[in-house]
Every structure is written in structure tokens, then in C-alpha cells.
Symmetry: C2
Subunit: 156 residues, 2 copies
DNA sequence: CTTAATATGTAATATTATAACATTTCATTT
DNA sequence: AAATGAAATGTTATAATATTACATATTAAG
């Protein structure tokens, strides 16, 4: 999966399968359990590149499990985010699957406000620059959120 | 007001007065109305450098107007944010006053997760870098959120 | 003063997220 | 295989954040 594929039609079935396969591998490696529920919710999130909200996810999940509750979704999200398989987009209160969870990455999220597709772009120099700046003022960084809204090439 | 003042004791009364004065000026220049409510809410936000939530703000505002409702706060926030006088910190669902509203600025927000102080640091090169990246993939940026969490020098 | 636009009041509700405690499932030890 | 303890899930309730809709009041302009 390359970044540019996300802006164009692509074989998304393969894209999804890869994400799930990587998730399996990572969870085995980390010794954590990608249970049926967790895996299914990851699958729902990765079923497109659009950012999806927790309650949208709940609606989808309820197709199979009519009496699922919000906390089911939030627990799975918590697990998936901690495992690095999903990212929260703070400015949307929505979630996307990570397509490069297997490797350490320093990414920014680009969000098309028209089509809602969101994807990560590697931006190591940006992180470098920010960490250098914070070092100068003796600020100890722990986590960084970078979200760029706009219009993708397809929607512009 | 210099950035480093925010990490150290400073004359915050002057800091607050300056923020309100700049707000007055900007609203006159823009031909918008900084009403009593709006100005008071800005004053409450700027009463410290800690990020403050809408309902915290409501509690403070209710000391003077016992029957104020959430929408009063959200309307004022909407106005103040549009005017560039306040920024929302997406990763906290909280708000801070902007100390450089009079000039165009490209800033990142540094948030100390211990003391909750949050302040803006100019980071034009970071914006440059991100805009260059997005240009390459023909993404048209409209807005950018950069929030760096960590520990400030006082809390480390 | 009248008018139209803007701001505020008021009530209800939508959306996002977590707390608390019971029960079940799973892996490990005996 | 049974006992144990930890992790996951079920269930109910509620907290926290934010908006909609419509009525009334205030303001600026003609
Ligand atoms: Zn990622
Ligand atoms: Zn788009
Ligand atoms: Zn100050
Ligand atoms: Zn600012």
C-alpha cells in the first residue's frame, strides 16, 4: 500500500486483508488478544478509508449483534488504539485504521472534508522540527497530534 | 508577552488586560461586536493559561448569571474562535485564549498534561513543510491542528 | 420610528464517552 | 481434568460535550 493509492481507485479488498493480517501478526508479537469482537471492529473501521465515528461503528456492529452497547465499541477502540492499529482523529471524534502499524512511523493525518477520506502521510522532518523546538524550551513531548484538513485531489 | 513568560511566573493581570485590549481592537477593526457576554467569556478563558472546558466556563459564568445555559457558552466560543481570539484544543475539548490574535500566526499548541497550561509556539517552518508535502499530492489544505502533549519545564 | 439583522433566552435533545459491577471466557497451575 | 486468577465481555446507568429549534430582545441603519 502506497499513499497515492488512497487517492485513487484501488483493490480495497486486498488493502483490508493486509490490514487484518498485519493486525494478527502484531497482536501475536505483542502477546495481546485480537478477539473476535476486536477483530471485527477493526475490519469495520478498515472497510473504507473514511474516518468513522464510534456510534456509526456501533450501528454497523449491531447488524450482527443487535444488543451491543457503546462500551463494546469503546473498549475495542481502546484496545486497537493502544495496539497502534487504529488512530483517533481528534478534530472529528472519529477513527481510521493504520496502514503502517507494523513499522514505527511519524505521520500526519490528511483529512478531506468533502469525502471524509483520511490517510496518513509520513512526516518525519515535521516531527524533528517540533521536537527540536520543544527541546529548546525544555518541554518533554509525549504525544503529538497533527491533522491537516482540506480537499483531496479527487474532491478539489 | 513572550513565549518563555508562560512557563514562569509573570504579571498575569497585564497579560489578561492586553488580551482583552487586543480583542477590543480586533473586533472594532473587523466590525463585529464583542458584547458583554462574549467579552466576559473571553476574560474567563484568559484568566489563566490553562485550557478550560465549556462546562467549566459555564460554571464560572453562572456565578454572575445563575441561569446561563450551555448554548450561551458555545455561542460565545463560536464567536471568539471565528474572530481568532480563542483556539480550541481538539485533543482536550478545551479552549485557550490566543495571545497573538492581532497578527497572522502559524502556531503549534504545547500542552502540559500535568499542569494543563497550554500555549502557542510559532512554527512557521512546520507549516511550510506540511504545505509543501500536501502540494506534492495535490491536497488543498484549509486548516491545520498541531497539538503537542507532554510536560512543561516546571512539571518535568 | 420602523425595519431588518444580530444577539440572547429557553427548552429540549443529540452526540460522544465512561463508570460500576456482574458474568463469562481463557490460560495456567495443580 | 479441576481449580485458580486474569482478562474480556455483558449490562445498566450516567457523565461530558455540543447542537437544534424557536421565542424574545437588542442593536444598527434607513
Ligand atoms: Zn499510523
Ligand atoms: Zn475528497
Ligand atoms: Zn499570563
Ligand atoms: Zn493563536
Amino acid at each position: 500500500m502506497h499513499n497515492d493509492e488512497l487517492q485513487h481507485p484501488h483493490n480495497h479488498q486486498a488493502c483490508l486483508e493486509q490490514a487484518l493480517h498485519i493486525a494478527d501478526t502484531i497482536c501475536v508479537k505483542k502477546g495481546v488478544r485480537l478477539t473476535t469482537i476486536r477483530r471485527r471492529i477493526l475490519e469495520l473501521i478498515c472497510s473504507s478509508h473514511k474516518a468513522i465515528g464510534a456510534y456509526e461503528l456501533l450501528d454497523l456492529f449491531r447488524v450482527e449483534d443487535a444488543k451491543a452497547k457503546p462500551v463494546t465499541i469503546y473498549r475495542a477502540l481502546d484496545f486497537l488504539i493502544t495496539a497502534g492499529l487504529v488512530h483517533k482523529i481528534e478534530s472529528l471524534n472519529a477513527f481510521i485504521g493504520c496502514l503502517q502499524a507494523e513499522k514505527q512511523h511519524q505521520s500526519v493525518i490528511l483529512i478531506c472534508d468533502q469525502c471524509k477520506n483520511a490517510y496518513e502521510l509520513n512526516a518525519a522532518p515535521v516531527y524533528e522540527s517540533l521536537f527540536t523546538m520543544s527541546k529548546k524550551i525544555q518541554f518533554k513531548p509525549t504525544s503529538l497530534t497533527i491533522e491537516l484538513h482540506g480537499l483531496c485531489v479527487a474532491c478539489a
